[in-house]
Symmetry: C2
Amino acid sequence: MAKKIVVIGGSAAGPKAASKARRLDQNAEITMIQKGQFLSMASCGYPYYVGGVFDKQSQMVKEPASFQNIKNINALVKTEVVTINRKDKVVLAKNMVTEEETQYPYDKLMIATGSVPVIPPIPGVDLDGVTTLQSVEDAKFLKERVNSKNVQHAVVVGGGLIGIETTEALQLAGIKVTVVERLPQILTFMDWEMAKLVENHIKEKGSEVLTNTAAQEIVGEEGKVKAVKLDTGEELPCELVVLSVGVKPNSKLAASAGLEIGEIGGVRVNKYLQTSDPNIYAAGDCIEPLNMINGEYTWLPMGDAANLQARVAAQNMVKDHPDVQYKGVVMTAICQAFDFTVANTGFSENYAKRKGYPNLLTTMQVGPDKPGFMGADYITIKMVADAKTGKFLGMQAVGQGDVAKRIAIGAMALHAGMHIEDLVSLDLPYAPPYSPAIDNFITAAHVLENKFLGRMDGISATAVMEKINKKDDLLLLDVRNMTEYEETRLGLGEMLIPLPTLRKSLDNLPQEKNKEIIVYCKVSLRGYEAATFLMSQGYKNIKVLEGGMMAWPFAKIR
Amino acid sequence: MAKKIVVIGGSAAGPKAASKARRLDQNAEITMIQKGQFLSMASCGYPYYVGGVFDKQSQMVKEPASFQNIKNINALVKTEVVTINRKDKVVLAKNMVTEEETQYPYDKLMIATGSVPVIPPIPGVDLDGVTTLQSVEDAKFLKERVNSKNVQHAVVVGGGLIGIETTEALQLAGIKVTVVERLPQILTFMDWEMAKLVENHIKEKGSEVLTNTAAQEIVGEEGKVKAVKLDTGEELPCELVVLSVGVKPNSKLAASAGLEIGEIGGVRVNKYLQTSDPNIYAAGDCIEPLNMINGEYTWLPMGDAANLQARVAAQNMVKDHPDVQYKGVVMTAICQAFDFTVANTGFSENYAKRKGYPNLLTTMQVGPDKPGFMGADYITIKMVADAKTGKFLGMQAVGQGDVAKRIAIGAMALHAGMHIEDLVSLDLPYAPPYSPAIDNFITAAHVLENKFLGRMDGISATAVMEKINKKDDLLLLDVRNMTEYEETRLGLGEMLIPLPTLRKSLDNLPQEKNKEIIVYCKVSLRGYEAATFLMSQGYKNIKVLEGGMMAWPFAKIR
């Protein structure tokens, strides 16, 4: 008898699971039930639709008929699943237009209900001109407002991935945008000093970013948004507010069916992506996948993970006994922020600390993404490893250069559970149009190895600034050349000794060998060269400023 | 007492080893001896210098003084090492200007003599206007000839990496180029059908490519090149000939010192990069590194590998007992060919066959490198795996899309020794500016897995063409839509049934269920969809044309 497969959800994981199940079982009766009116929405594309990168709504969605004709999948839209009757293996769904209720019996059920936006508990969120960017309807609304030319100022509440992508989209459409972020930094999957580099770039591009600032109220007039009131008392006049404070797993239906829910609020699944009911699978934003790095349940609401999970679940659903495993995620995320690419894979330093890793080794490295003569762009990479075992735990990268490739390399290293020693001699694709002779990823790994083996001691810009604020007795030693120094410098009382003259300039340095000296250059490669020399001269307290001038997140003198 | 380190060679591995040794041992006496007049040449950049991407020679080389001042390295140029006296641990070197000979005693010696171009044994290679592209002098010569505007036609003898890069450089300078390749294909590190896609692209860009054709003689007039005579008898008139038939390890000095040489002709080294004399190390193009995939010695003359090997050797040279290991290479290569990127990592199908792998699983997959609405470019990926164990053995990729990232991912998979099951659910960086929701690499792995698990049977374009030439009884079934068909088609008597109508068109198909049917579309995703349906209808001999229309290397009707 034909197997009955019912899929709840029609965005990413749902259509993928239904399609894959069809290819594997041409006889199954497959029904896909979607609450909204659209199917297979490319939701990651919404900001680019709003920003005018493309204009056809049809490029973001698929028609129900195409599922029927090509894949013989019964695709229902505007239909909400009301209950899951696990005992009788029947789903009750209501057509939201006719209000008719229909029962759909299943042998295997798949829950792919995705995520829902978090709405901040402040007055005014219902005013006209306030929206999230979570649905095709949201995207159309925003695009209409942008095209209407009636919006001069917009406030984006929340500086996460969607918030930053939306900021760029609105700004490119000629709207003056202010991002309001309650926390001390935007993009909290990054460490502070990396996020700060992005924040600086966004500001240079003309948008405003307010961190440590909460939106207290959305102020309206005649039902329309007029301003956002901050906890500082200040009001930001605006005609549009985008709420992007975050999303959470949409596990309500699963919970009401008595399925196990995890601590983060997502549906709990096993390695086969089965829920606590073996006939019910789940995939996508509504589940808590395993984090392959520490084996804990986590949450990663990403379209690519949803598709891959759905493919695994579908392979198991068409069988009597599941045997295809989903191993988990390594927490990879990427976004475009104007000319920058911003990305992470694995643990940030902050995240690792929160997860209880006691001894962390970190490093920040800046460099061009190809030889200078090919017209390079810069990339800043921060790597995190276990200081005891050398296990690679994660990396972040930002910059105008090809960040995505380096993050992909890092993600592979995490999938493979690699250690520092595995990363220092990788055979990556090198030719001048594509990378420096030693790829940025490998150079960062070299610095990490140098620290791991005690060859150098690095210090972050943040730590230097703390020392300066505490008025610690230290010397900042800039080893760039005079031209570079005249263009831009820290302006914190530093000493300039260009590297080529350092060997002959020992007399100019403090003779006290325990003096704390922080050495740097543009990216700190020359800084490292200088540090090794100074240490050989008996200096005991030499530190290299990680990432040099280019990764310095604070103000500089120009 | 200060350790004496002598480095022979000043291109890539030499300067890297000397510099790294200096950072690790500030007291060592370090001497670097270079035969030519230049140091630290960015030899991979020569084609871009010739092509006018950059013009300053200084961007390709470093000055001896910079090694002295910054790194305290005694860098000698125009100095040739005549003999290595291993017994007394002394190197004898001759200043090529003064002819003066000097002895340099060493505690540790490093051989980094690189590679030398192979000159084909044909008449006329000494004529004016004939050159290789292996040195700064060659690059300068070519650039001068290009800029002189006296060259209208050039012949590139040999279609390897350098040959193809040079072709592009010359063509961009307005010279009409013909590539002459003795073998049936250019770029022999790729499989035929992948190289053919590149060849087609080069021809579309306006250069001529002649495969299966050997240069028999370079014809001159008054000492100047006039034409290249082919084995077909044809003469190609030209004012410039670039010989790029290959390079070989420059291991002469090592051999004359009695050091062990491998079968490929490179210096044999152990895992610490020690030669058969433990006080002598070697790195770069002159050695045979280990191939991590099969554990055999191999040869990979690449600047990135040279640098990384030098870094390992230097760490061992400064110690009494070496302990840093170089694990080997995974055979990664990449080059630009006009708008295409062409790359390989690991085994091609051909190479694996030559290495005696009996059961290979291969697949070819074509797809856009990001969502269509973001303005995608296409990539064709061929993957090779062990059909029995599922071990990933290699991949090639060509196209206008971001090939480098996918090859980097593949290289990491090879470093980690991954199997197909490790590749199907990777957590790679996804956002619309960077990749499709399921990355091209993962999609290719999915197809590989589908074949591994017997879900589909693929057939290469080459195999289809062989069947057609043998007049096999088969049906070619195109499942694209009418518009696509009218734009371009195979023109081999194929039947068109658009996928959405296939389920209702069974009557139009042959009723004989053992009939061989080869299904395809633009890239063969719809082809796979159709194949699974036809198999469910009892057809027993359904094959999917790998890569579909886009990977078809033969002529098409337009």
